[in-house]
């Protein structure tokens, strides 16, 4: 009985905002300016636009959230430095495309090749960085009290923020809008899809599919799942647990690097503190989806992206943070282990 209330309550809670605004758009309508004239619309295209923007924004959160979820699934650590690894991804990408000579006027072929190369290098850099952090700050603390690595994670987060501060200064820096993120690609029944949306979703989907394939189909992926379930038993079965943990950090870091590049192109500005906020949102997404679960992290990221956009447009951007966290609390009350979560080791 209680479980039923939980599931239905959850669905009601998740759908409340879009349904409310959908009905209000259809009945009382919304105004927009067409050729300087105020026009009242009675359709769902504004809602569709909000949700599309939400999904593309959420795609970035999903990429970062996977990093939290992979690490948490294996060593039950909230990797506070992960958001800052993502910042490093953005900074590296911007420096790289500067080095490759990509500018706003670069032709399409050069742009695609240059950005693809940037993506690969940024992913490699962030993956390596994450592995190094694990090696230096978390591995010496295996077997230490559970919260000790949390503090080294926070310490490394500060160190990386300082690196970012020295690299690009304390203010948000605008970067060149390489892909002309605001230009229209196509139109679906009144909802304009921009290049930025295509980029974010186009990078996220193949990476997530690749990751799922890796985790579910390869031997290394199986080792990861085994270690997540029971590290001791995995060790007894001949799995090198340390390597497996490094691998999880590597994969998480790579996705954060990809997210860093997408973010820089999408938002066209970078800031040493961007990773802090993004990390908080992505961690929330991972928990909302059920921490330790990759599909859950993606779902949580996309959901939070949509909630953010709806709140930005309809309630006011200054309340977005409160709305997102309010949603999180609702989900946690109705379904304490997250949307797709299973019982964790600790809880079981």
């Amino acid at each position: 009985m209680r479980a039923h209330i939980g599931v239905w309550g959850l669905i009601a809670a998740l759908a409340a905002l879009p349904i409310y605004y959908g009905i209000s758009d259809l009945t009382s309508g919304y105004t927009s300016f067409v050729n300087g004239h105020e026009v009242v619309h009675h359709d769902l295209s504004l809602l569709g636009f909000n949700l599309l923007e939400g999904l593309s924004n959420g795609a970035i959160w999903a990429l970062i959230a996977i990093g939290y979820t992979l690490v948490y699934g294996i060593i039950e650590l909230i990797n506070f430095a992960h958001g800052d690894v993502f910042t490093m991804g953005s900074f590296t990408s911007v420096s790289l495309w500067g080095a490759f000579g990509l500018t706003v006027s670069t032709g399409p072929l050069g742009l695609v090749l240059g950005l693809a190369l940037t993506l690969v290098i940024s992913m490699a850099v962030c993956g390596t960085l994450n592995v190094l952090i694990e090696r230096v700050a978390y591995r010496p603390l295996r077997g230490a009290p559970k919260l000790a690595p949390l503090i080294t994670a926070i310490g490394f987060s500060f160190v990386l923020q300082n690196v970012g501060l020295l690299w690009h200064g304390g203010e948000a820096t605008g970067v060149s809008d390489l892909i002309h993120e605001g230009s229209k690609v196509f139109n679906i029944s009144g909802v304009t899809v921009h290049r930025a949306d295509v980029l974010a979703i186009g990078v996220m989907v193949p990476l997530v599919i690749g990751l799922s394939w890796f985790v579910n189909r390869t031997a290394a992926g199986r080792a990861m799942r085994a270690t997540a379930q029971d590290p001791e038993a995995a060790r007894l079965m001949g799995i090198n647990v340390d390597h497996t943990i490094s691998l999880a950090f590597m994969l998480g870091g790579m996705l954060a690097g990809a997210a860093g590049l997408v973010y820089a192109l999408y938002e066209t500005n970078i800031w040493y503190f961007q990773g802090f906020q993004a990390g908080l949102i992505a961690f929330t997404a991972a928990v909302m989806g059920g921490i330790g679960n990759i599909r859950g992290a993606v779902l949580g990221g996309l959901l939070i992206g949509c909630v953010q956009q709806l709140s930005d447009f309809r309630i006011g951007p200054e309340w977005t943070e409160a709305v997102v966290f309010g949603y999180l609390i609702l989900v946690m009350i109705l379904r304490p282990r997250g949307l797709l979560g299973e019982e964790t080791r600790e809880a079981g």
């Binding site: 948490y72 039950e76 909230i78 506070f80 230096v136 700050a137 010496p140 603390l141 230490a144 009290p145 919260l147 000790a148 690595p149 949390l150 503090i151 080294t152 926070i154 310490g155 490394f156 987060s157 500060f158 160190v159 923020q161 300082n162 690196v163 501060l165 020295l166 802090f276 908080l280 961690f283 929330t284 928990v287 921490i291 200054e318 309340w319 943070e321 409160a322 966290f325 309010g326 999180l328 609390i329 946690m332 009350i333 304490p336 282990r337 997250g338 964790t344 600790e346 809880a347």
Partner: protein, 402 residues
């Protein structure tokens, strides 16, 4: 056991039987010995420096953080509930000063034993009354925040408390748009509520803004009281219930420990300490600004508790002193002038967060259990047996089941 050792043991036992034992409420050997010495040292300390000294200023802030850390230690250390939204109680405490100790609510004319002139606009309560209000308000807030976490476990508690902390921070920022009627708003947002009443005690007079010594002694008294309360609670029935819940919830509940009440008491008491410290910090800073209530504050206090040694009262005290000295004295006043002392033209200010983070990593790697770990945890970690319980010694390797 050799004959000599046996003889020594006999003498020692005989001596112990004859000498009257100190009352238990004075705490263990180290607390009995160390606490009076530490307090005496802290009383003398400000007279070794000028009344405007930046060191004493840093010490005053550090002592306020000691109170904060002790509060969070109740929740995270004693009860084992990872709270990442502790900043909420700092905010509530600070807003208590803002609301009840300034001209912020300009329609009201209330003055109860405060330093404000009679008939001044706003609510002006005496500092002690504000403390009482803060304790009541933050305890209620602590319980309300604790309620939704009762069904949750482990790190899910962390994220829900974090969410509450962020929501309260965001309400503080946007509070200038929340109208209470009559033109009054909930908070002053990022503009901050300033011109707060200075503490006033009948017979002692009003605190000044220039000399830091009265503030120092005020927070020292508060800190000593809070340390005493923390030690007493830890050794009480409630404290043992917390530890039992922390170690094994199922076992503790089946032994008859009321889960809901015990957990909520931890939230309420931890929150109250945070509120007390928030009142002091708000008044000491002379502004209550929404920008102060960030997630990083919660992280900072949590770092103090963990660096000190989770669950240990003296650990929390030392962790708070260490990290806040690092942040308010060592890095701004000592380290940043170091290059100039050596004649180098090099500014360390840009590196201060990095240095702080690096020191945190080093401390944790060198002492993962914290600087002064709780005895129970020390036993768990090292399999080491406390001298007064030799019967627990087991020949097998690994931890001892408590």
């Amino acid at each position: 056991m050799s004959e000599l050792q046996a003889q020594l043991k006999e003498w020692r036992d005989g001596f112990r039987a004859r000498v009257p034992r100190a009352p238990r409420w004075l705490g263990g050997k180290w607390s009995r010995l160390g606490a009076p010495l530490a307090v005496a040292f802290m009383v003398v300390l400000p007279f070794l420096f000028s009344s405007m000294s930046s060191f004493i200023n840093a010490t005053t802030v550090s002592l306020a953080f000691v109170v904060m850390a002790l509060g969070l230690n109740v929740v995270v250390g004693f009860a084992g509930l990872l709270d990442l939204g502790y900043v909420a109680f700092y905010a509530f405490g600070a807003y208590c000063v803002g609301w009840f100790g300034s001209g912020f609510f300009f329609d009201a004319h209330v003055n109860v034993l405060s330093s404000a002139v009679s008939g001044a606009i706003g609510i002006h309560l005496n500092f002690v009354l504000i403390l009482v209000c803060a304790v009541i308000i933050t305890s209620i807030a602590g319980i309300l925040i604790g309620l939704p976490t009762l069904r949750l476990r482990g790190d899910y508690i962390a994220i829900v408390t974090l969410a509450f902390g962020e929501i309260i921070g965001s309400v503080a920022v946007n509070g200038q748009n929340i109208h209470l009627g009559g033109g009054e708003t909930l908070t002053a947002g990022n503009l901050g509520i300033s011109a707060l009443d200075l503490p006033y005690f009948p017979g002692l007079g009003t605190f000044g803004l220039l000399g830091v010594r009265p503030w120092y002694f005020l927070i020292l008294i508060i800190a000593v009281i809070v340390v005493f309360i923390a030690v007493r609670i830890r050794d009480s029935r409630l404290g043992r219930a917390w530890i039992a819940l922390r170690e094994d919830e199922v076992a503790a509940v089946s032994m008859g420990i009321p889960l809901v009440r015990t957990k909520l008491k931890a939230y309420a008491i931890g929150a109250a300490f945070g509120g007390i410290s928030g009142v002091f910090l708000g008044d000491f800073d002379q502004t209550v600004n929404a920008g102060q209530f960030q997630f990083s504050f919660s992280v900072y206090v949590l770092a103090m508790v963990i660096v000190g040694g989770l669950g240990s009262v003296w650990g929390a005290v030392m962790g708070a002193l260490l990290l806040s000295y690092m942040n308010y004295y060592l890095i701004p006043d000592v380290l940043n002038t170091l290059p100039q002392t050596f004649g180098l033209n090099f500014d360390l200010t840009d590196l201060s967060i990095g240095i702080f983070g690096f020191l945190m990593v080093i401390v944790m790697i060198l002492r993962p259990q914290g600087l002064f770990p709780e005895r129970r945890r020390r036993i768990e970690l090292a399999g080491e047996v406390a001298p007064e319980h030799p019967e627990l010694e087991q020949p097998s390797a690994g931890g001892v089941a408590i």
